[in-house]
């Protein structure tokens, strides 16, 4: 499974994505964020206020309680500034 990072989150991590293989107890997107933060201090600090971020699963914005089973591409999205 791939995790994508965008904008200043991508810059802070110095990479645009990770290839991951989370353990079975990581069931939802919220679990996944929790698991990712625990293993990466830069991500943990950058996501100090997790409510700021939207999450997507296979290019659809979804709520944090969405399961990750079967997902190919997860993204962590800092506040958007389009338009």
């Amino acid at each position: 499974m791939k995790v994508l990072y965008f904008a200043w989150l991508r810059e802070r991590l110095n990479r645009a994505s990770d290839e991951i293989d989370p353990p079975a107890e990581v069931k939802t997107l919220a679990d996944l964020v929790h698991w990712l933060r625990a293993r990466d201090e830069a991500l943990d600090i950058a996501m100090a206020n997790p409510a700021l971020f939207k999450l997507s699963r296979d290019a659809r914005i979804v709520s944090p309680d969405t399961p990750i089973a079967g997902a190919r591409e997860i993204a962590i999205l800092p506040p958007m500034t389009g338009g």
Binding site: L4, F6, A7, W8, S56, A59, R60, I61, A75, L77, P78, P79, M80, T81, G82, G83
Partner: protein, 147 residues
């Protein structure tokens, strides 16, 4: 029509084509966003990052929601990404409706959603380098109007 593109586009031609293709519209509203450099805050460029697959899906969903909610005949969104210069067109929303109120409200609704829910991220390029544009809490408030 939903288009997410790194290429320049012609907003006037876009609007003319959209108007010509539709039947029964009495009102068309366009909103065009333009790269702005001011004496107070001169920038040399605006660099837009984007998650294209998600952007196309989100913009199409916003468009569909606006059509249903305001009874629009049709709506279109074009949004650029990449490096744009002052005066360049960033994006354009077009709404077609039987009457003016729906066309105006549909376009304002799409803009408010776009500002907070479309996966684009702006950086301003100045003499001192690149700086991420902060998300505005007033944009969240503007979006809140519609809930």
């Amino acid at each position: 029509m939903i288009r997410v593109t790194a290429d320049p586009f012609d907003p006037g031609l876009n609007a003319n084509r959209f108007q010509a293709e539709s039947e029964g519209a009495g009102a068309m509203v366009t909103f065009t966003g333009i790269v702005r450099s001011t004496p107070d805050r001169p920038i040399t460029a605006l660099v837009l990052e984007c998650y294209p697959a998600l952007a196309e899906h989100e913009l199409a969903e916003m468009r569909d929601r606006a059509i249903v909610r305001f009874g629009l005949i049709d709506a279109a969104i074009t949004h650029r990404h990449g490096r744009l210069l002052p005066g360049d067109t960033i994006m354009q929303v077009i709404t077609l409706a039987p009457h003016r109120r729906a066309a105006f409200e549909g376009a304002a609704f799409l803009m408010d959603y776009l500002k907070t829910d479309a996966p684009f991220w702006k950086q301003e390029e100045t003499e001192n380098g690149l700086e991420w544009v902060a998300a505005k809490s007033e944009d969240d408030a503007a979006r809140g109007r519609w809930s």
